[in-house]
Homo-oligomer: 269 residues x 4
Amino acid sequence: MTDTPEIQLPEDKPLEIAGKVYQSRLLVGTGKYHDLMETGHAIEASGAEIVTVAVRRTNLGQNPDEPNLLDVISPSTYTILPNTAGCYTAKDAVRTCKLARELLDGHDLVKLEVLGEHKTLYPNMPETLTAAEELIKDGFKVMVYCSDDPLLAMRLEEMGCVAIMPLGAPIGSGLGIQNRYNIRLIVENAKVPVLVDAGVGTASDATIAMELGCDGVLMNTAIAQAKDPIKMANAMRLAIEAGREAYLAGRMPKKLYASASSPIDGTFF
Amino acid sequence: MTDTPEIQLPEDKPLEIAGKVYQSRLLVGTGKYHDLMETGHAIEASGAEIVTVAVRRTNLGQNPDEPNLLDVISPSTYTILPNTAGCYTAKDAVRTCKLARELLDGHDLVKLEVLGEHKTLYPNMPETLTAAEELIKDGFKVMVYCSDDPLLAMRLEEMGCVAIMPLGAPIGSGLGIQNRYNIRLIVENAKVPVLVDAGVGTASDATIAMELGCDGVLMNTAIAQAKDPIKMANAMRLAIEAGREAYLAGRMPKKLYASASSPIDGTFF
Amino acid sequence: MTDTPEIQLPEDKPLEIAGKVYQSRLLVGTGKYHDLMETGHAIEASGAEIVTVAVRRTNLGQNPDEPNLLDVISPSTYTILPNTAGCYTAKDAVRTCKLARELLDGHDLVKLEVLGEHKTLYPNMPETLTAAEELIKDGFKVMVYCSDDPLLAMRLEEMGCVAIMPLGAPIGSGLGIQNRYNIRLIVENAKVPVLVDAGVGTASDATIAMELGCDGVLMNTAIAQAKDPIKMANAMRLAIEAGREAYLAGRMPKKLYASASSPIDGTFF
Amino acid sequence: MTDTPEIQLPEDKPLEIAGKVYQSRLLVGTGKYHDLMETGHAIEASGAEIVTVAVRRTNLGQNPDEPNLLDVISPSTYTILPNTAGCYTAKDAVRTCKLARELLDGHDLVKLEVLGEHKTLYPNMPETLTAAEELIKDGFKVMVYCSDDPLLAMRLEEMGCVAIMPLGAPIGSGLGIQNRYNIRLIVENAKVPVLVDAGVGTASDATIAMELGCDGVLMNTAIAQAKDPIKMANAMRLAIEAGREAYLAGRMPKKLYASASSPIDGTFF
């Protein structure tokens, strides 16, 4: 071990999900905005190319007489990512994905969430594994919301999921990444993109996710419930880029003092 | 107290130091680079408009036969901020500022540092107060490196310093802001710009400084000793903007759960 | 919401596992000591009443010609808790528990660990669920090492496990509890004892676990690999008691200032 | 640098202040209790041998017709430590110490606090330096409440203060030690006792202070404003002992994994 450990700089791979390359590493949701206009402006400011929509709560054409989200977030501009928010069983989630595929003319990229209970909206992992398997068999490209258990993340990847989406903290909590260690382990093990999904509260939370080596971040409440959602969307766009650049640049090691020749050793801090 | 406390959004004041307005809120140093070329490229990537130079260690014309930093960092493009790095007494610091003023044709904006000891490079605050007073009397515009003691910061402002520059962590340590609480207090009290000076290690550290309401950040080692300094300079540029935007946007409150109607109360976390 | 939220003081239930009440809330392992003598002294200093032994690595009588741990840690003084360290499948773990029951004359209290991989020694949760079910059916009282996923913890409890033992950080890392949030959630939901198992590095880590409301902590490396294991065993004994008492006493709320009448609100810190 | 850095175990020096040795390393205040009875019981449970009293707010005999604290906290049992809480100038603080000396028959051990403002109750360091100097010249043994600036702490020690008492966080905030780094530096430099004074909120905060190598902790609100002050006093007694023992025992180094042969290097965590 030398004074400055030789950290290999990471390769700058583009974000590729299910065969398509994206420039933006920020994925956003559409919930909790004041109106569709604000939703549209915020998403534009975020620079996101992938927009996730809760099939059970959003009109994608199911109700022909009501405003259709796709009129604001056009599938020709954005990759629409239908999600199964609100589903508490594998069966419900699978059915919801199939409905989305119909409404979106065969679109087979989905974000699977099978929730475990109402308070934290944590995933039910056994049901998630079951649903992922079934959806993959049926031809879906599955991006999967999951706990930060590195072993279950690896299993979801082996099963064929196209992106692993571990939570940083409970959905809507804004607490920031609670367990950086696990997120880091998931990143080290994964060959498909790892996107932190849930828990980001402000810009630095997003930067930290990217510095840990994540390929992107999905968020909704942090933008929609900021005092000024459009400005926060812009902040998040910059924060994601900053974290990505810092990760690629390879940070200086932490030292106890300016004059310390060896990095900090973990006995005190 | 309502469930969502009514946080007044902060005013978006431009960064103005000693009567001049700056677009960039990232200030950079020139030490620890491989060569002057790398220095120049990194500073360009950082977007900085203010570049600080250690008068005692840098050739600003004192040694006519050696490479002059001002050939790379031109005073017509950048605001050159001479600093007193290496000075351990008020007397030395004052003398160094006067030398800088001569070398730079009457330029009177300086960054005062009076160091206390060699290991941490923490400021000697009583000597700092003495030097600041003397320099201000002599017509200098003093930006002052100081501890994060909110009361001493206020005293330096009352004395007439044009910017308060509290340390986040020891110079060159890359540990990130150790005491967010104090930085926040300094920001709340100050009417002149507050710039975190020292301790930033990676992009999220800079974002956090800005989210606390700082007006800017000065850094050197975090860029110069990254594996890829030019990429890190760019990361820092984005990180500063991200943190500023997030601060202005007003973050969502932290909640214990998605479904919690009131913000987190500090009993557990 | 009033200024000082009315936190109900928790009930001071004794630690009862599988029908037996324990005074000590510190459980210890026997690995990584210099010799059996040090093991014995450290365990005595810890005040532990439950001592876990790795059936695959420890001689409990399998090898009649070698030193037997039970000569040092007598089953008449301590509750011996055989564990399945080193098992990577449900099948192996079940077989190991049966071997332990034979060696210990029908003793049916076991600590189940089914590991997922060698680096972190994280549990393989699907295999853990399978093994727990089988062992419970076979009459074992199962204390179960698990991830900090609150939903899987609840499932293990519903299945009939007599204690839930979530990890705080990887076994042997000494990093302290990485996700206090999840540990807290597990405690809130559980009716059986919750014992943090793995990750504690020093006394304050143990105190924090108890302040979160855990019923106890199991540790090995933090004691065995301290410079002075016997002194650290004593430190841990005190730390566990301190944390338990603080939990029962009900801490003051965090405030931004001495003069603040309402607790901290989660917007800044 | 070897895999396990050779940390010298610290010497187990008894706590000696101004020539007197104490068994307990927990110092307590007397404010914010419901009544004198509760004060007495809590102090007894804390095991404290040194009790600090605010001369300006406490009846030590100034008002002969009112209850006298010394009837509950007897100077024959406890070392009474008069403090200058409520003083905002050196002059006031010095006068208050002289009053205390009179009331306490020549007792010359005092705790100096010169406050800077009402919100945080942070010390005014220049006034503190002035008062300390004057008091020491006048024969007082000065224990001094100060900021966590390591250089000013050293200056107070050089001046002759008998104990350095840096704040962990604002008085009454319960936020825990905000800057462990500075507390650690102060400890490394000091030859007189270092006692964290202010900021502790719960037991683990006290344990952490002691693990950093502090010689003791002074607290008041954390005990007095716990739901059950007497139980919390006991928790703090244990927490201080736990932290001291852990410090003396020498903790295991933090590792990234169980199987990691070298301690954590500061690049990621």
